[in-house]
């Protein structure tokens, strides 16, 4: 008997080990197979980490090196970017520093590596975060079933997180979202662990409190990494009554603690943010862009092209800090015509350099996409000579972009100030746009959901390349079946007292993370829904991957006929592996390398 049990245990662990080995091999494959810079915002995240690692970096040289590398790896071929001005991202001082501090530490530790070597180093860090998520998902999903039922559900959960095509791609790219996903999964795991501990007999002090300590640490780190880290804080607070409330008295006590924990910092940041963010100059959009040209005598002709300007006074042009004009509206998501503007002599410095600024005054950070290119300074006389036709402009050698100094000045200033500015900013923006949110046309909501759904499952090359439409029909079927399954599970559990071997506390914690992520999505992207569809990125859903990867197979398990549940789960495991192979051989390799 003992031999059979030990063989059973060995086999049980070896099943997982084999799947995990495949996930490790796949992770390594994706890390080297996805061309450099192809991850969403990968150039920006790399640049932020690099500049923090090397504070005296010559920004112009870094931009030149990055541009060369981007061109080598045919970045523009796979993306919507068409001009070099848009390709190299500007440093964003409003980003929280947690992730970039880790990146900078890695870059400094391996300072001998080339730029591409450092980029792959950053990717390996993301891959490590991802493998941590896989292990945690396995542990979390094993806590759902209290009996011997549902052995294949954890395997299916691991297969989902391990082989979902888009997450396989995204999880190895250099992006702060990967760290947030890990931290949220760590918090979820700790809470699940605490809730299942409550059913056991007396445990030692260390065993009792280590999950609390790790969860608190993960919450704090999460708050330093990204705004979405706030979801972890709320999850932690709301979970307290769920895991601690065993009777009415303890439930009231735990709820009070949770409410206080939740309310105090939120109001602190809110009040501080509303009162001080404008003083910190953080409510202003950082995407202004400066150009410098040498002193000139007489009127000067400026030519430029603008991208996706939606409003009359969205982008203003300033010369040496004085507003001189605004950029005309362009078609949505398109470059407008070449525009010409005469800069009057009285505003142009004759002997000292001049600073030309294009400033998007409408923009809270990253809400509206826009851009300028072909910015050139020419001689007015040539325009007159050409009788209204625009000749090729003379480009002064001194005309260059200037974005240095932002990181050094603001990046590490005050995390509390950043948080308060961000909370204040989000709420202020939310209030302003609230009325718009109630008037969002139905087709926009449909489109938003569809774009999100498609890009959640598979969308490469900055959302250009997708699988064929038939696959998404199939993914839709899986999602709907899972949704019905979860509804059935919850309904029958509470109505008919079935599924009693399922730990509903764990399920409710998973649903809580899922629900909080939806609320975060609405707060973060709801206001911009009317103006920009670019925010409908499925990758935003990956912060809840720890919950989704368990809930989707669990829903499928619950909706299957009782006798066929394990076969369905086994099939789901094989299907996810097959899907991953299709994504590699039919899509990733041909798209990037053939």
């Amino acid at each position: 008997m003992r031999a059979i049990i030990s063989e059973y245990k060995m086999w049980k662990s070896s099943s997982f080990l084999l799947i995990f080995s495949l996930i490790v091999a796949k992770t390594l494959l994706f890390t080297v197979l996805i061309p450099p810079w192809q991850g969403p915002d990968e150039p920006l995240h790399f640049k932020m980490g690099y500049v923090l690692a090397h504070p005296v970096t010559d920004i112009q040289k870094l931009n030149t090196d990055m541009l060369k590398s981007l061109q080598q790896y045919r970045f523009q071929k796979y993306t919507d970017y068409t001009q070099k001005e848009s390709v190299i991202p500007e440093l964003n001082a409003e980003k929280l520093p947690g992730y970039y501090t880790i990146l900078a530490f890695l870059f400094r530790s391996f300072s001998g590596l080339s730029m591409i070597g450092k980029m792959f180093l950053g990717r390996l860090f993301s891959a490590a975060c991802y493998l941590g998520i896989v292990l945690l998902v396995y542990r979390i999903s094993r806590k759902i079933f209290t009996g011997v039922e549902g052995y294949w559900v954890p395997m299916a959960a691991v297969s989902f997180v391990g082989f979902q095509p888009q997450y396989s791609f995204f999880s190895i790219t250099l992006n702060s979202d990967n760290l947030v996903s890990l931290l949220l999964t760590v918090i979820l795991f700790c809470i699940v662990h605490i809730s299942s501990q409550g059913q056991e007999a007396a445990v030692s002090w260390i065993r009792k409190y280590w999950p609390w300590l790790i969860a608190i640490l993960a919450v704090l780190v999460g708050l330093l990494v990204k705004r979405t880290g706030f979801v972890g804080f709320v999850l932690f607070c709301i979970s307290i009554p769920i895991v601690m409330g065993r009777d009415r008295r303890s439930l009231i006590r735990a709820s009070s603690v949770a409410m206080a924990l939740l309310a105090l910092p939120t109001f602190f940041f809110l009040i501080l943010g509303l009162t001080t963010s404008h003083k910190l100059n953080m409510s202003k959009h950082p995407n202004h862009t400066h150009f410098i040209f040498p002193g000139l005598d007489g009127d000067v002709r400026l030519t430029y092209q603008a991208f996706d300007v939606d409003f009359e006074r969205e982008v203003v042009i300033l010369l040496n800090g004085i507003e001189i004009a605004h950029v005309d509206k362009t078609e949505n998501n398109k470059w407008g015509p070449i525009c010409t503007l005469i800069l009057p002599d009285r505003l142009v410095n004759d002997n000292t350099s001049n600073t030309l600024t294009f400033d998007n005054v409408y923009n809270p950070p990253h809400t509206y996409s826009w851009g300028v290119r072909n910015v050139q300074i020419g001689d007015v006389l040539k325009v007159e000579e050409a009788r209204g036709e625009i000749p090729p402009s003379k480009i002064f050698e001194g005309l260059k972009r200037n974005e240095g100094g932002i990181v050094e000045e603001k990046f590490m200033v005050s995390i509390i100030a950043k948080w308060s500015a961000r909370v204040g900013q989000t709420i202020r923006q939310g209030i302003i746009k609230l009325r718009d949110m109630f008037h969002i046309p139905f087709y926009l909501i449909v489109r938003f959901i569809l774009v999100q759904f498609v890009s959640f499952w598979f969308s490469l090359g900055w959302m250009i390349y997708k699988m064929s439409l038939g696959w998404y029909v199939f993914f839709g079927l899986i999602t709907l079946l899972s949704l019905f399954g979860m509804t059935r599970l919850i309904y029958t559990r509470f109505r008919n007292r079935k599924f009693e071997f399922i730990n509903m506390k764990v399920v409710s914690l998973l649903l809580l993370l899922f629900a909080l992520s939806q609320v975060a999505m609405v707060i973060a992207y709801g206001p911009s829904l009317t103006s920009s569809i670019n925010d409908a990125m499925g990758r935003c859903r990956f912060m809840e991957i720890g919950a989704l990867s368990v809930l989707i197979p669990l829903g499928l398990w619950a909706i299957s006929p009782a006798r066929k549940r394990d076969i369905v789960m086994k099939f789901f495991v094989c299907f996810m592996i097959f899907l991953n192979m299709v994504s590699v051989f039919k899509y990733i390799i041909p798209i990037f390398y053939l």
Partner: protein, 121 residues
């Protein structure tokens, strides 16, 4: 059905391959139907919700030919240094990935529904 599948692992393996193949070709049929019949009449073809074929651009090349594979190895190692510039590295990785994938599928099929191995009696 379950009894049959449990008794014969090869049948299970073939059934699984058949099912996965059916999905693959089923998707192609759905693509064809959407492309030729549904795309023009769907509500998704109107206004801002318009969905066109260009949204689902498909790669034309296939890796399953000798020339394509050589081209892939050529391109994937370009501009890279160290082990990343070594072509056999990618062949080994792809082989490992494929081999382990097949092994996992076989393991899944040969393990019984409770996760324990089937013991011959």
């Amino acid at each position: 059905m379950i009894h049959f599948l449990k008794q014969n692992k090869w049948s299970t393996l073939l059934a699984m391959i058949f099912l996965l193949g059916s999905i693959y070709y089923g998707v192609k049929i759905v693509d064809f139907v959407i492309d030729h019949f549904a795309m023009h009449q769907s509500i998704l073809n109107k206004g801002a919700t318009k969905i066109t074929k260009s949204h689902f651009r498909q790669p034309e090349q296939s890796i399953f030919s000798k020339d394509s594979f050589s081209l892939f190895l050529e391109n994937v190692t370009k501009y890279k240094g160290g082990i990343l510039a070594w072509k056999p590295f990618y062949v080994i990785l792809l082989g490992l990935y494929l081999g382990l994938a097949c092994l996992v599928i076989i393991m899944v099929i040969s393990t019984d529904d409770s996760g324990s191995p089937e013991i011959e009696t």
